[in-house]
Amino acid sequence: MTPAPLFRIQDLHVRLRHRGGERTLVREVSLSVRSGQSVGLVGESGSGKSVSIKAAMRLLPRGTRAEGRIAFDGGDVLTLGRRELARYRSREVALIHQDPRAHINPTRTVGAFLTEGVVHTGQMNRAEATERACALMADVGITDAARRLHQYPHQLSGGLLQRVMIVAALLPSPRLIFADEPTTALDVTVQSDVMAILLEQIRERQVSMLFVTHDLDLAAAVTDRLAVMYAGSIVETGPSAEISARPLHPYTAGLLQCRPSTAEVKRLTAIPGRPVAAHEAGTGCSFAPRCPFAVERCRAERPHDRSIEGRTVACHRVEEIADRLEERAS
């Protein structure tokens, strides 16, 4: 048997109090990340991918409730006490946000931002933290580190600021990094640069990563495994290369086909309708209204995870349609 994964989400439900009732944001999500592994969590807006990460950090906003089990190294994250939670957040995991400018306090210096995490949780004194921050800044290609420490966020470009965010994440030597759309706000060439730096650093240090993005091509290129989310649920999980080469869920296939390529021109196979949020989905498969393969059963009954070709796919008809998904593309 393989050893237990470093991080595991089982049957996660996230609900939000809304006008007296409750609204489902995330439904029955299960996911695991092994030591040293990178997993991509891919979905469009409202799919619940960012909410899942916030639940894993216990950073959900007020009025939101998470149920299920989130295990890190065997311990249950959702029931951690105050002290253990602080330890988990400060030493075991780290979070890289999408918009570094909003997530770094504009009135404090870059140095204060970088070191606060390790200094105020008693992992290093300020001098050690500063020294290590300088070393890491050099590693991620930030020149003139000593000067940068005294600058304010508004004096740095977006790409540079995101590298500062990466340094902040690496500083306490975490075992798992959550990256929430870390490059979405950046230009493509900067994205490539920042992504390369991030990958280089986590590989060197054997850090695991859960990478959240809306860009399936990007996720497939930088992760070992992928989980594709739609309307608050995971519809397909499997090795990244296999999923992008041969998608088994109609939604994954649709996403791959509607993405315009830089290399060839063809009429795009669009998915009709618009992406829905978890609470808008009916009783059946949430993708059924947009799915060209949907039958009566799909609209009536929510599909369970099926194992096929070493993957997990939430589709009633996966065996029947697996081979027809690619044909549609051409």
Binding site: M195, A196, D217, A220, C258, P260, T262, L268, A270, I271
Partner: protein
């Protein structure tokens, strides 16, 4: 570059310069002398990263901004007034592209009315036509923007632009804010419209995949300078400039690896 006389140009831009004067930061040159042209019925893509000047160029062509120097000639076959009715524009943000306090149909009626369509019955027919041409129908006429999805809003914005029969439609990152699955629908719609009519597009985008799908020719801008231009297929498949190469290489695709920029 001389232009053969037989080419039917809808837009001809030459020597475009734009300098912004901010009060504290000193002058900033957004465009440093660029030129391009669009043949009737074709689509030119303007490609570049943030700060390249692509949006400034589009806004100058539309007449929303004035150039510091250079010429913009629009040939729409009609007598032009102060604003160029022959040029219409669709903007990036689907939430800002429509007046939140005006129903879709009322907005279209208003546009047609100020352009001389007096009879209500005529306008009603035209509104139906326009909605249909962007994949919507009369049921959407009574709706307010708040009840429409992002993709539907951009469709309405396109219908509004088409209402004035422009010779040139500027699309400024018009599909960038949409989810991929919806983006594809709108891209297909734009292709259909161009097939049906003789409209030309000026398509501003940072997304090379999208550019490849919609445009015939493209120009690459960087820091206000024109780096490279030509047929889109040539530019993207065999870029001649290092910067264009870097742009193309940075787009994730199967088998792609992110690369650090040389320091």
């Amino acid at each position: 570059m001389t232009i053969p006389a037989h080419r039917d140009l809808v837009l001809d831009v030459r020597g475009l310069r734009k300098t912004f004067h901010s009060r504290n930061g000193g002058p900033r040159e957004a465009l440093r002398g660029i030129g391009f042209s669009i043949e009737r019925g074709s689509c030119l893509a303007v490609v570049g990263e943030s700060g390249s000047g692509k949006t400034t160029a589009a806004r100058i062509v539309a007449g929303l901004e004035s150039a510091t120097s250079g010429t913009v000639v629009v040939t729409d076959g009609r007598a032009g007034g102060k604003t160029r009715h022959g040029v219409q524009m669709v903007f990036q943000d689907p939430y800002g592209s429509l007046d939140p306090r005006q129903a879709v149909g009322a907005g279209l009626h208003e546009l047609l009315k100020i352009h001389g369509m007096r009879r209500r019955a005529d306008r009603r027919t035209r509104v139906s036509e326009l909605l249909e041409s962007v994949g919507l129908d009369d049921r959407h006429a009574g709706r307010y923007p708040a009840s429409l999805s992002g993709g539907q809003r951009q469709r309405v914005a396109i219908a509004r632009a088409l209402a004035l029969n422009p010779a040139l439609l500027i699309l400024d990152e018009a599909v960038s804010a949409l989810d991929v699955s919806v983006q594809a629908q709108v891209l297909n719609l734009l292709a259909d419209i161009r097939e049906r009519t003789r409209i030309s597009y000026l398509f501003v985008s940072h997304d090379l995949g999208v550019v490849r799908q919609v445009s015939d020719t493209c120009i690459v801008l960087r820091n206000g300078r024109l780096i490279e231009s030509g047929p889109t297929a040539d530019v993207l498949d065999a870029p001649r400039q290092g910067y264009t190469r870097a742009l193309v290489d940075a787009v994730p695709r199967p088998g792609w690896r992110p690369r650090r920029r040389p320091a």
